[in-house]
Symmetry: C2
Subunit: 397 residues, 2 copies
């Protein structure tokens, strides 16, 4: 089944807002074996929306329109669809009553603008809105064997309503067509070289590492590719699910019954907050110290003042003492630390922007890694946090 997605909103065509609904819809269609042959973002202009719908009807089996179902004058998707397919709009009386009752409870009266949210093309099947007032619908055009779906643009309304529409169209989640590897430790170009002979892979790189999507419509071939890649990449892979490094690390800590703490300079609390991103982190996360100033490094973490003077705050001994200091202070089994120059200024020839010392300490040892990261300040800090979390993973495997 071929899909065409139409997104409406002048906020997208003027660059005021990042459009994200098409990502969700495409993914759900793809997971169910459908093919998206185009995504078209139109401003709130009835002619442009109509035109997009017509292109979609022409090229695909199903057009999904998201946005423009609300009560304002900018909301014109209903009319655009009605005119594009030549079917008049009527009120869904039941939904109109639902809206009226909701408003009554709030002590409000229904207005003409609100009323129009209960309209749908004659003969369309309604898709109830579990959150808001705008009614969605799916209209099947039997003569041309095509369908058009309309859902609101508000993500919390759009998502369940798209799933209902896909269900109604008979699209079920398929056998696996895609496999994800999330890796950290090698840049995209190197991963690309390692996997250069494997077809249909998509690489997606970020400061958190390189994600590899392996595609194949045939499950047997997919599994084969997956085995080869798993073998080649080994410990670079930190998960094969849609999970974050902090979840993987959290699971390991929980499983082993170990507690963790952090001593952060350059990342300023980012490692700690990422660990706490995971619900239930209180089982293993005790806390941390953000020692941005040298004074805090010395007074709170017990880093030797003379070592900071001798080697500088960005140095191997300081990272080591930070990790060991916080581990002692907060009485944990494991700790990580970092000190570095995130930039954009502050670098020297010996200590360039991006240089970081990242420490890991457990009951048996402390190790410090010297790494020079490239990129913008906050990308570097994100990469440092990923590196530190990955050190926990690699040490506790």
């Amino acid at each position: 089944m071929r899909f065409f997605i139409v997104i409406t909103g002048t906020e997208f065509t003027t660059g005021l807002k990042q459009e994200k609904n098409s990502l969700y819809i495409s993914k759900e269609v793809f997971k169910r074996g459908g093919e998206v042959i185009g995504i078209h973002i139109a401003p709130d202009d009835i002619y442009q929306i109509q035109y997009a719908i017509k292109i979609g009807m022409d090229k695909s089996d199903v057009v999904i329109v998201s946005g423009g179902l609300g009560p304002t004058e900018d909301d014109m998707t209903r009319n655009a669809i009605s005119e594009a397919i030549g079917v008049p709009l009527i009120f869904d009386e039941e939904w109109l009553r639902t809206i009226k009752n909701t408003l009554k409870e709030q002590g409000r009266e229904i207005t003409e603008n609100i009323k129009k949210m209960a309209k749908l093309p004659y003969g369309a099947r309604k898709i109830e809105n579990p959150v808001g007032k705008a009614l969605g619908f799916i209209k099947v055009l039997d003569d041309v064997k095509k369908a058009i779906v309309a859902v609101p643009g508000v993500p919390s309304e759009m998502k369940p309503m798209v799933l209902k529409a896909l269900d109604y169209l008979g699209l079920k989640e398929q056998e696996k067509r895609v496999h994800l590897f999330r890796t950290f430790g090698k840049p995209e170009a190197e991963i690309n070289d390692i996997l250069s002979d494997i077809e249909d892979i998509v690489l997606n790189s970020s400061p958190k590492g390189v994600d590899i999507f392996v595609l194949d419509k045939n499950e047997f071939f997919l599994e084969n590719k997956v085995k080869v890649i798993r073998e080649r990449l080994g410990e670079l892979i930190y998960t094969e699910e849609e999970k974050e490094m902090e979840e993987i690390v959290g699971n390991i800590l929980k499983e082993k019954g170990l507690t963790v703490s952090t001593a952060e300079s350059s990342t300023g609390g980012l490692i700690a907050t990422r660990i706490v991103n995971v619900p239930g982190a209180s089982e293993y996360m005790m806390g941390g110290v953000v020692s941005y100033s040298n004074q805090v490094k010395v007074n709170t973490l017990g880093v030797k003042k003379e070592d900071i003077e001798r080697y500088g705050a960005v140095s191997e001994p300081v990272a080591k003492q930070m990790a060991e200091g916080v581990k002692t202070l907060l009485k944990t089994d494991i700790s990580v630390s970092d000190t570095g120059i995130a930039g954009p200024t502050g670098g020297t020839k010996e200590k360039p922007v991006g240089l970081h010392y990242i420490g890991y300490s457990d009951r048996k040892k402390t190790e410090v890694h010297r790494v020079v990261f490239k990129g913008e300040r906050n990308d570097i800090r994100l990469a440092v946090s990923q590196y530190a979390l990955n050190l926990i993973r690699l040490n506790l495997r």
Copy 2:
């Protein structure tokens, strides 16, 4: 000038990757007074790309295509354009030499696939790539007074090349057409009510608050609207620039010569890391303590154990003692703290999920705010960090 943007990439139409280039291009076009009448995302399929280009040529004055200029077989934008406009591709000999020389320095030979990155339609003006090998171009079709621009999909290459193309088309940055207010403290619905009589505003809400974009092509009317909104929203506005709360707070602290520290439980370091997001934060940020466990609250911050037992860790006295404790420990002028239940579980009837106590302390006083936030765990934590930073702003104004 009417623009149509074509983005290529199967990774977008299968929902594997968030498309972002169209946001950048739309924004730059809008800033220069151009109008984007449509954005079309096509999979790596030469017919779909060609079709998108044809629609664009039909509807607009300028089509900008991003993506598909690389060396792989999926890169077919050049051919799609050539066929769509009926102009053959030729080599740019100068660029071909540039590529050859770059490869030579790396000890590599040029291949047929790499060669094609130096091709452009006959008569097109080249747009040199400041980062990579793929040549961009702009082809003006004099007979129809239209132009087509091709740039790579890699953002660091795409961005400067789009600016060059807009320059060449004579689009200069215009008088201001849009004004931004970033607010925190009231939900979108309330802001909407306050501004309901003002036309052409776009609201964009997130855990960080509500951003208001005020649009008007006429600068006089724009300024008028801006004045009215500024008066109505008052201290809800934390900036009128594209800046983050941490930058605003950082500027205030720097200006007043005050130092800050944080004591975080629910946010787990997020406030600290946001303060450190700003280059030069070392002038005022001393550090912080992430006191996720009660043990750290008591041992490191000096929160009274009996108060935790009596009132619970999520309570007004604990938030107060955390703020005062970290201020004393790290010897700073100002401090903020939080303790709360971010969810998804852990709530009770008296202390529901989302409940937070947020503390602020300076030389004169300590205040604690009780707020119940709604949303997902990490949205709540982001909102808490914004609330804490905003407390610094409101207290130091």
